[in-house]
Symmetry: C2
Subunit: 280 residues, 2 copies
Amino acid sequence: MATGRTHRPATRSRGIPEATVARLPLYLRALTALSERSVPTVSSEELATAAGVNSAKLRKDFSYLGSYGTRGVGYDVEYLVYQISRELGLTQDWPVVIVGIGNLGAALANYGGFASRGFRVAALIDADPAMAGKPVAGMPVQHTDDLEKIIEENGVSIGVIATPAGAAQQVSERLIAAGVTSILNFAPTVLSVPDGVDVRKVDLSIELQILAFHEQRKAGEEAAAAGTGPVAEAAAGAGTGTGTGAAPAAAVEPPAGRAAAAAAARKGGPEGDVPAVMPA
Amino acid sequence: MATGRTHRPATRSRGIPEATVARLPLYLRALTALSERSVPTVSSEELATAAGVNSAKLRKDFSYLGSYGTRGVGYDVEYLVYQISRELGLTQDWPVVIVGIGNLGAALANYGGFASRGFRVAALIDADPAMAGKPVAGMPVQHTDDLEKIIEENGVSIGVIATPAGAAQQVSERLIAAGVTSILNFAPTVLSVPDGVDVRKVDLSIELQILAFHEQRKAGEEAAAAGTGPVAEAAAGAGTGTGTGAAPAAAVEPPAGRAAAAAAARKGGPEGDVPAVMPA
DNA sequence: CAATCTTTGTGCACGCGTTCACAAAGACAT
DNA sequence: ATGTCTTTGTGAACGCGTGCACAAAGATTG
C-alpha cells in the first residue's frame, strides 16, 4: 500500500468509515471491468475476489451506502457503478493542477487513469522558467508565477505536488491560499496544512522500505529454519540488546549481491556501537 | 495514502506491528534530516512533529524496537538512524528491477530516493523491442525475454511493476517464478500471488478518488451550512435511498439522472488497456 | 402456492491500533 | 547528596475494523 493517511483523525465522514471509503475505488474498478464485459450482476463473493477483499467485508461496506443488492441474486453491476461513482463524487468534473513537472510530474500528466475517472488536468505548473511553454502531454507548462491565477480561473480544488521535497511546503501554502482544499503529495515531506485541508501522500521509497523489512524477515526465517550454520551463529552472537529484533537483521545475507551484502552485514555487526552512518 | 496493503492478514511480524513498520520509514526520513543538520538528540515530541505523528505513538513504536532513548534527554539521532535502518534491513543492498519502462517506469528509474536508501536499480525491463538498448536513467533497457536471467544473475528479490494493467499478472508470475518474493505494483490490478510473496500497491487514481470523496463532502457541508437554496432543495428532493448519504452527493448530482450518470461512469475506457504508458 | 435454494444484510465478538496518563529513570542544579 | 525537572516507557482503556455466522429476503422450481 503506497498510501499514507495524513492528519484527519480517521473521522468517520458522515457515517461511512474511512476504511470503507478507501475500498470504494477498488470495487469501482472491478465493477467497471465487469461492466465492460457486459456482466449484468455479481455476487458479493465474485466481486470480492475480483477486488481482492473478503466478501463479508464487501457486503458490510455496501451496507453503509444502502441496500443495493438483491438476495439470492447479487448486485446489479451498472447500478452499483453509478451508486459508488456518485458516492465518491466522480459524477462531476474535478479539475486538478500538477505542480512540479519533472519525471514524475510528466508521468502523472500522461497518466490515463485520471481522465477516465472524472479528473481533468487543468494545468501543469513548474518553477523552472526554461520549462514554461514546453508541451508536456499535449499541454503547455506554465510558470509558478501564475499559480494563483490558474487555480482561481479554473476553480481548482485538488492539487498534485510532484516537486522536490524542499519546495513542497511552500507550494502547498500557495495552493491552499489560492483555494485548493485537497492535496496529493508525492514529495517526501510532511506537509503542514490548516484544518479543513486534506492531504494524502504517496512515497515510493517508503513502500520499498516496508517491502525490504518483510523481505529481511523472510530471509531471516529461512536461515533459522535451515538449521544452525555460521550465519545463525553470528546472529545469535549479535543479539544482545534488541532481543528478538537482532536475529533476522544479522541473518539476512541473501544469495544475491554477494560482496555488497557482506560488506553491509559486516558494518552492522556488533549490536549498537557502530558509527551508524546512513546516507540520506 | 497512496498505499494499499495487500494480503498478509496484518500478521504481526515477529512482534513489530504492521502499523509500526509502516511508520518506521517516516521516522527515518525525519531523523536523516536532523542528522544532516548535525542535531545530536531529539525528544519524542520534536521528532513526532517532524514525522507528522503523535508523540505517544512514536514512543510506543520505538518501544517495540527496544529502549533507545534516555529519559530527560531524548533520543540520540545517529544511533536511532542506525537502529531503524537495521530493523528495516536498509543496511544491506537490495537490487530491484523495474518492469515496464513507460513514463512512470522511467520516472521511477530516475527517482533518487531509491539509491539513497539501499535500493539499487539492477535492471530496467520492457516488452517493447523498440525500447531494448535505449538508455533510461543512464542504463540500457533490456527486453522481457531476459527477465528470468536478469533476476537470477543479480539475485533480485524485489520487483517493481509499472506495466499496463493487462500485463501485470503475467509479469508478476514470471518475476515470482524467477525468485522474486516482494512486489511493488503500480498497475491498477489485483495481483494474485502465492503465499510467502508480499505485494504492496500504489494506485494514483485511487488516491485521487479518496480526495474527491472528501472534497465532495466538504462542498456538501458548505452548501448545507449556507442555508436553504435551490441546491439544498434539490438535494432534499433527490435524497431517497441513501438516507443521510444522499444529501451531499445529490447536491452535486447533475440533473441528468440515472441513465446519463451510468453512461458517464461507463465512459471510462477499458480498464486494462491503458496506452502502455502509466498504470493506475 | 409451498418448498427449497441462494445470497444479502447485520448482530456480535474479537483483536489491533491509538491515546491517555503516570510512574520510573535519568539529567541537572544547588 | 539531595531535590527538582524533564522525558521516556508502558499499563490500561477505548474505539475502529474485521470476520463469523445466521436470520431474513427473495428468486426459483415443482
